[in-house]
Symmetry: C2
Subunit: 418 residues, 2 copies
């Protein structure tokens, strides 16, 4: 049992002092509790918030941070990222994922939704660092039947391996410009059979939308609906180039959309996800950093800020508030993934972040959520608890130097042999 | 003398190891120097960059961080900020400025250009914290002759007081919607007489531009030129709503424009400063956070990232690179203010920031500038040197807790009495 003593907790928009008791992996009590505990955290200067959900990333791409800068999306993928990715192996994905997990934990993220190669390697990193995750087995088929069959064989094997780890699972057909409609249909069938999520890139660029219509004589969302691809298993990143009717149909089918504002701005996709329309339609919106190669950070505190900046810039100063940024980074994701975290409430999972209110960016504290979204930085993260276990303490992850050292050795070898 | 030993320094785009010797307030030597020094910094895991220039802020507005969120510009000014500002006093400006100076130093800023009330109070904070600054005496006249005369009297007194401090000076007529053309003309005359800078808000919103044209039958820039307001003393924040010809005229007159991307996005000004056009015209562009009330951070590392994100989003992925963000935050500002800092070179001022390369966001290090701009955070700042003196060491500013404590007491009193 862990007792968080004299913590500052938000209650009706105001900061109040309370004790929080954690038993096993859940919040057992909040208020005037004084049970005997194995461990007491003096939280007099700490605010307790739910851990953040990074709902779209490719965490092993930390390897490519700063590797290929200032290029448009297609060129960036085709000339730099894909050739390098062809040389990946399990070891390097494991170490890059591990470093990414530590980076995420240290900046207040307790859950991430990943799409990448060698998902078992990432699963090992997840288990060893103590973060929570949903990992995907990803594939392309480039519109070849043979490639599809070969890839699905690999995917089924990978999904099977993932059962050995404490992670949620997903299948990840990459996007409509890399996977055939037949491939998407088969992916959803596998998702239904295995009862898992589908991780997907949707309507990221205008080119994707125009090319699809040219080829298929139909809008993407309508085509996806016709093959039964739209349902609440589907969690789609980007969702930038969507029409009103497409948003409404996705809402009706209970799809979730993941806003990736930094990546969208950096790769210049030309438009912002339409949050006002999505909110009106009741479409569930989440927040993600995307991979380090296109962000180049996994820091969800920053991502909340950029999400608010982009929405306000594009749709008006009152279109999106600090509380919206916080919501898409917490409870909306909790709902999408069916994880009872994302709120500081009795009976909910103890996935908690303790914010150091004595750090300058948190002062003055007129509005905790505004400070979190607009001014806090990773240096304000004091303690991170996932599944009832303390994984970051005093802003430090036990053993982080060794992970970094090992990662750098492996990375040097990888790029040295290019 | 300070010796920075085995530091990583950028040379032709690559990181090389070198010693840096600081004598008095200047860089005396770079390379294989081994002079006896009073103080040696082991910089094996540190990269040395020039300190960052925050070229537009209202630093005492730290008081209003998170105070009035999610509102459009005019409403935000008229309903929340101006009424609160009417109650300001010297003591509160001093403590809020002091906290802001520490926040800036700890995130790698060694110079800031401020516009606010009670500039002598801010000047005391500047001297005591060791940061470098150009401080302005600000005024409005709301198109009243009497108010103009009264304000200019105060301004001349304040500018005179500022001579007692080690700061650069500026006069700051607020903007065309708060100061008459006569007021602007008089401000420039004072600037010329005193040989100081002019700090100004220009073309921040479309409303400002349209209203001015309605009232004066002329574009703002043309009108300013006619009264002799455009010259190299003028450093103008925002510069969002400018036409091509206006940009060209400003370039010709050697005006500097300050990009404030976070503030512009947060207050939804509807457009991005046209960097591509400004670059083509040869207009000198700087970077600023604006005040904490509209950002809500003074962290220039983040501001560099948002500047790149906004430019790429608005003008294309290759319109603005990481090196551009770094340049507008360093050498362009050094040029505008005539301060020989902003480069790590022999004979230049020792205004230096040592970046901790062992922090996760700095790894891997394919590209130091890309990491600085896109992934570094204040936690990566190890040491900050201003004018040859170490002011931040191991990420810590001596006495910061006491400054924060005192600030919070004063702020509580200020808002409590509202």
């Amino acid at each position: 049992m862990i007792l968080i003593e004299n913590a500052k907790v938000l209650s009706d928009g105001k900061l109040k002092s309370a004790n929080i008791l954690i038993e096993e992996n859940k919040i057992k009590a909040i208020g005037d509790v004084k049970d005997k505990s194995d461990y007491v955290i003096n939280a007099k200067e700490l605010a307790v918030i739910p851990g953040l959900f990074n709902s779209h990333t490719h965490c092993a791409m930390t390897l490519f941070r700063g590797y290929a800068e200032d290029m448009p999306l297609q060129e960036w993928l085709e000339k730099k990222i894909w050739p390098a990715e062809a040389r990946l192996n399990e070891e390097i994905v494991y170490w890059a994922s591990k470093l990414a997990c530590v980076e995420m934990l240290k900046s207040g993220t307790t859950f991430f939704f990943d799409m990448y190669f060698f998902p078992s390697a990432t699963a090992r990193a997840v288990e060893e660092t103590g973060i929570r995750a949903c990992l995907s087995s990803a594939f392309f088929d480039f519109f070849s039947k043979d490639l599809l069959e070969a890839n699905l064989k690999r995917v089924e094997k990978e999904l099977n391996e993932l059962k050995n780890f404490k992670v949620l699972r997903a299948i990840a057909p990459h996007a409509v410009y890399t996977v055939s409609l037949e491939g998407l249909k088969r992916a959803m069938e596998i998702a239904e059979k295995e009862d898992i999520f589908v991780h997907f890139h949707l309507a990221e660029t205008e080119k994707e939308v125009i090319d699809f219509r040219k080829k298929n004589g139909n809008g993407i969302v309508k085509a996806l609906d016709e093959i039964g691809f739209l349902n609440q298993r589907l969690i789609s990143a980007h969702c930038v180039w969507l029409e009103k009717e497409e948003i409404e149909l996705m809402a009706k089918r209970k799809v979730s959309a993941v806003h990736c504002p930094t990546s969208n701005m950096k790769l210049s996709v030309g438009k912002a996800l339409n949050y006002p329309e999505m909110k009106k339609a009741g479409l569930n919106v989440l927040l993600g950093t995307d991979g380090t190669a296109s962000n180049n950070s996994l820091d969800m505190l920053r991502e909340m800020k950029v999400s608010a900046l982009l929405q306000k810039f594009y749709y008006g100063a009152d279109s999106f508030k600090a509380v919206d940024a916080f919501k898409i980074a917490t409870e909306n994701a909790s709902k999408a993934f069916g994880i009872k975290a994302g709120k500081v409430e009795v009976g909910w999972l103890a996935d908690l972040v303790l914010i150091d209110l004595s750090k300058i960016p948190m002062n003055p504290c007129h509005d905790l959520i505004a400070n979190l979204v607009y001014s806090s930085a990773s240096e304000c993260i004091d303690t991170v608890i996932v599944d009832g276990k303390i994984v970051v303490e005093n802003g430090y992850f036990e053993g982080e130097e060794k992970i970094l050292e090992k990662f750098n050795k492996i990375a040097e070898k990888f790029f040295g042999s290019a």
